[in-house]
């Protein structure tokens, strides 16, 4: 466990008390804290990824390629072109995800940030679901299927039923979340009843859900009357998430729901008795069983909650983002991104929240990188992947920048973080 790198506090043995002669100075300690802290590592990780990304962008830029043909006669051109392409791409990334300086006023300049939050919304919800699974020792790769079922059922309520405003929205939301929970619950039930490994069943159920929803869109109850496109009708206005900041922005109620979901997940995992049992099962199922906790029941409950949270992501898409009808691609790969979001957030609710916003920024910024600078979408994805990889690898970043490792010969290190069951263990168990 990488966490074991974190030093435990003095428990027994000879404590390194403050009266020890080799106690380093306070200033030095602060320096240590900062250089080994997570914040600086993350910043450096992003810098590193941007650097590698810059190389990629420059290499793949057409102008740079053209200029490099005559590199030896006029090397300056290549450098200028490279600089232009990289700075253009990154400023587009920033202006597309945080603040657009080209807009005249703050109200329109800040729109990219709201876009970031909008894109982060389903990522956080699904990330919470996946993270919850991880905490119980379950690797839920079934986000796609759970989102699709949630979107299909909730979407159906949203376009097919006529209910009063407010109630309609709540019913659609509940049905959608229940749909995701159902699809996840199948996995939990299969695991509890037959021991079927959740990695297999979630992968398979993704496909089943995809084809099921495809069929329903083409010829079932999700079909748009009078149209032959495999696309659902638009959600009724009574079932659409209201905009939070007015019609000029896309940010909608879903974001608030996701904040609530984050708080709920936090409460569930760290304050509720069910969460206590979840964590016990995730960390040591044997001891949990001996302590009277029904491990199988926890698997079912956990998959219900996990699927429900992922379902929230799915319903968010049909009630918030793609309200004018959806097709079988409505999950948009969020179920897979959620795995990374969950792990980047170390499977902690607020960590997931932060990681979701980071990913949301990538998504929002990706558009303008592509549109403004013509950076191919594949390169945008590569740069994003690199950022994730570097953020997930503090030891690498430390090694590159020759920063000290925390815990090693560092008296008075920070309190240890608790270990989380990593999905990889779940896969192997």
């Amino acid at each position: 466990m990488s966490e074991t790198l974190q030093t435990p506090p003095v428990s027994s043995g000879k404590p390194a008390g403050p009266d020890q002669p080799d106690q380093p100075s306070r200033a030095y300690q602060v320096f240590r804290e900062i250089t080994t802290g997570n914040a600086i590592i993350s910043v450096l990780a992003v810098l590193l990824a941007l650097l590698v990304g810059a190389i990629l962008i420059a290499f793949t830029n057409e102008d740079v390629q053209k200029a490099s043909v005559y590199f030896f006669s006029r090397p300056g051109d290549t450098v200028v072109a490279a600089w232009n392409s990289v700075s253009g791409a990154y400023s587009a990334l920033f202006q597309g995800s945080i603040y657009n300086f080209r807009k005249p006023d703050f109200a329109s300049g800040i729109k990219p940030l709201t876009e970031t939050l909008t894109f982060a919304t389903p990522l956080i919800a699904a990330g919470l679901g996946v993270a919850l699974g991880f905490r119980v020792g379950l690797f839920n790769i079934g986000g796609r299927g759970q989102m699709l079922i949630a979107a299909a059922l909730g979407g159906w309520v949203a376009f097919a039923l006529d209910l009063p405003a407010g109630i309609h929205l709540v019913v659609a939301l509940v049905v959608g979340v229940a749909g995701g929970a159902l699809w996840g619950g199948i996995v939990g039930l299969l695991k509890a009843r037959t021991g079927a490994h959740e990695v297999i069943t979630t992968i398979m159920l993704n496909y089943v859900a995809y084809y099921l929803v495809s069929y329903l869109l083409r010829d079932g109850f999700l079909k748009t009357p009078g149209s032959n496109n495999p696309q659902s009708p638009a959600s009724k206005p009574t079932a659409v998430f209201p905009d939070l900041l007015g019609p000029a922005y896309n940010l909608h109620l879903g974001f608030i729901l996701v904040i609530i979901a984050t708080i709920f997940t936090w409460w569930l995992l760290s304050r509720s008795n069910l969460g206590f049992q979840f964590r016990a099962v995730g960390l040591n199922p044997h001891a949990a069983r001996v302590a009277g906790i029904s491990v199988n029941r926890m698997y079912v409950y956990a998959m219900l909650f996990s699927g429900g949270l992922v379902g929230l992501a799915g319903i968010n898409q049909v009630l918030g983002t793609s309200t004018s009808g959806f097709d079988a691609g409505i999950d948009s790969g969020i179920g897979f991104d959620a795995i990374t979001v969950a792990l980047l957030g170390r499977s902690r609710p607020w960590g997931v929240f932060a990681a979701g916003i980071l990913f949301g920024a990538f998504k929002a910024g990706g558009f303008s990188m592509q549109a403004a600078e013509g950076v191919p979408i594949d390169i945008v994805l590569i740069v994003q992947s690199l950022i994730v990889l570097f953020i997930a690898a503090p030891p690498l970043v430390r090694a590159i920048f020759r920063l000290p490792t925390p815990g090693q010969k560092t008296p008075g290190a920070k309190t240890p973080r608790k270990r989380t069951t990593t999905p990889t263990e779940a896969v192997a168990s």
Partner: protein, 377 residues
């Protein structure tokens, strides 16, 4: 059902299974077996695996007889296609088995397959040497593995994160290079020579089995050898003993002088090489050109096969074959005209897998230390 291909030396007569009598006979047998298993379960004994297998075979024959009512099912073709669909899954699963057995969860099989497919197509096109393409595919797989290994083993990054990210990364890189290089220059960069089918003398004339298994390309023969080697190697050699030790209990392996990090690193690389071969099958063995995302999720199915096969190369191979069979059965049935909507037919292989896992396999336990970085104090 047609049992022979037109080129067989030994022509078998077509077997005609009348729908109704076959149906009745099969149902009766199935009921019998169910009753027997029920009795066994009641008496708290385990249902033997052969009984389950017999049940499955009867179920299948009955289903085929029903579904193909007044149509001919060319059995060799059905099986040949199943094998073709299974080959990349088997390579991927072998890579998965090796890397998980040594303690590194390999979610990046998809990426390794895709990288292998891409490089083999390009290198074989440039050199016009499919063998070089094959080597290039292995190198590409190894390269992906290097990243996985470096991040997971040296820098303790969560193995699943690296795997998931690598898949995106490889998809991005191959997609980009495909658009920029391969697509515009398809003639020179994306027209690899394919391996020819090689008929193995005698073996290829065995009825049914011959045409399916012994009229294949070099890659498929390599696959047979690979499955056998990995199985033998894992369970009967020093290499396998050490590899499994590292995946089960790295510290114990360390205490007997095995270098855990090195063992992991090179075996993960080996796994990449094997998965890379699976990628080459797409381009050099099967379709003769690279296409964006052409692996279409095969890596994830392979991952499922690894677990389905309980981390055992032979069982994983069988799992992949089952999947390939279900996929191709679906193909054949939909072609001869099935009343079931296409989407439900397409679900078949996935549902079969779920039922098989839930019904036959049950609890499976992986290598104990898989996914856990080994950090020395």
């Amino acid at each position: 059902m047609r049992l022979s291909t037109t080129t067989d030396l030994i022509q078998l007569p077509d077997v005609v299974l009348p729908t109704r009598p076959t149906g009745i006979a099969v149902v009766a047998l199935l009921l019998l077996i169910t009753a027997a298993s029920g009795w066994l379960v009641r008496s708290k004994a385990k249902v033997p695996i052969w009984l389950v297998t017999v049940f499955a075979v009867f179920l299948l024959v009955g289903f085929l007889a029903w579904a193909s009512a007044d149509h001919t099912i060319p059995v060799p073709g059905l099986l040949f296609g199943s094998l073709s669909l299974a080959v990349p899954l088997i390579f991927g699963a072998l890579g998965g088995v090796i890397s998980e057995r040594v303690g590194v969860v390999n979610v990046a099989i998809e990426g390794q397959l895709l990288a292998g497919a891409f490089t083999s197509a390009m290198v074989a096109s440039i050199t016009q040497q499919p063998l070089l393409g094959l080597v290039a595919a292995m190198l590409a797989g190894v390269l992906v593995s290097f990243v996985l290994a470096a991040f997971a083993i040296k820098y303790f990054v969560d193995q699943v994160i690296v795997g998931v990210v690598l898949n995106v990364l490889v998809s991005g890189v191959t997609g980009f290079l495909f658009s920029q290089l391969l697509a515009p220059n398809a003639g020179t960069l994306n027209s690899p020579p394919r391996f020819e089918n090689i008929n193995i003398p005698l073996l290829s004339e065995i009825p049914i089995i011959g045409p399916v298994f012994f009229r294949q390309t070099l890659i498929v023969y390599i696959m047979y050898v690979a499955v056998a080697c990995v199985y033998f190697g894992l369970f009967h050699t020093k290499w396998g003993l050490r590899l499994r030790a590292v995946g089960e209990h790295p510290q114990a392996a360390d205490t007997v002088g095995i270098n855990v990090a090195r063992t992991r690193f090179w075996n993960v690389s080996l796994a990449g090489a094997i998965a890379g071969l699976g990628g080459a099958y797409f381009t050099l063995g099967s379709v003769g050109a690279f296409g964006k995302e052409m692996t279409a999720g095969a890596g994830f199915i392979a991952l499922a096969a690894v677990i389905f096969g309980r981390w055992d190369p032979i069982r994983a191979t069988l799992a992949a074959l089952l999947f390939g069979f279900a996929s191709n059965l679906q193909n054949v049935l939909s072609i001869i005209g099935s009343p079931v909507p296409s989407e439900f037919m397409l679900m078949l292989p996935y549902l079969v897998t779920i039922f098989a896992v839930a019904g036959l396999v049950g609890q499976s336990r992986g290598p104990a230390a898989s996914g856990k970085p080994y950090i020395k104090s």
